[in-house]
Symmetry: C2
Subunit: 150 residues, 2 copies
Amino acid sequence: MNVIIRKALVTDCKRMMELVQELAVYEKAPEAVTVDFDHFVDSGFGISPVWWAFVAEIDGSVEGFALYYIRYSTWKGQRMYLEDLVVTEKLRGMGVGKKLFDQLIEEARAQKFTGIAWQVLDWNEPAINFYKKLDNVSFDAEWVNCAINF
Amino acid sequence: MNVIIRKALVTDCKRMMELVQELAVYEKAPEAVTVDFDHFVDSGFGISPVWWAFVAEIDGSVEGFALYYIRYSTWKGQRMYLEDLVVTEKLRGMGVGKKLFDQLIEEARAQKFTGIAWQVLDWNEPAINFYKKLDNVSFDAEWVNCAINF
C-alpha cells in the first residue's frame, strides 16, 4: 500500500465532498450536509481562502483528508482548527489517519499556531481511542455547542 | 444609559483584552489566557485579519464586545463563529448582550454566512438562559472538545 500525504488541490474537491458525505452518514447526520459545492471550492481555492487541507492518496486514489481553518482564540491566539479528519471506511486502522495527523502537527508548528483544536462525538469510541494515542491531547466535555442556522 | 454598538477599532484592543481576562476569571480559567497582546492586535488589524469584533460603548466607555472568526464547516459552508460575547459584570442584565447579538445576526446575514455557531459552558446558567431566549437556537452536548497545546 503506497500512501502519499500532500496538500489538497482544486481537483481533489469532488472526491473530498464524497468523503464528507461518507463521514456524515457515519456520524448519523447525512441530512446535515447542505454545503454548496461551488462555494466549497471557492472557499478553499478562491481569492480569500478560509480552509486548507491535506489529502491521503492511497495507491493513486484520494481515500482520506484532513481539513482545517484558522481559529482565533482570545485565550490562546491563532490555532489550527481541525474541521474534518476522515479515512474511507475500508482503509481505516492502517495508519493513514496518523500520517495525516502528523502532517497537521508539522504544518501547525510551521505556521506558528499555538496548538490544534477539534471536536469528537462522545460515542465515537474508535476516534476517541485514536486521539488518546497521540501525545498531550486534552479532552473537555464541559462545553455545549450552540448554533443558529439561517 | 447610552449604548452604542459599533465595529471594534485598534484602539479598543487594550480594553477588550481586559474584558477577556474578566471573562476567563468568570469561566474559572484565568491561567488559560496566554495570548500575546501584539499578536492579538495584528490578528485583528494586520494585513490578514482572522478576527472581527463589535464593541458596546456605554456612556462613552467600552464595557462589552462580541468577537468572531470565520468557521468553515464542510457540512454548512462559511459560518460566523462567535468566540466571545462579554459584558462587564456590573452592567449585565440590561440588554447590552442582546444588542451585541442582534448586531452579529445582521452582520452574519450581510456576509452571507449560513449561520452562527458558538459554545457555552454547561454550568453557565445565566448564559444558557440568555441564549434560550433568542430565536431558533439549537444546543448539542454530544461533542467533546479536544486540543493539543504547543
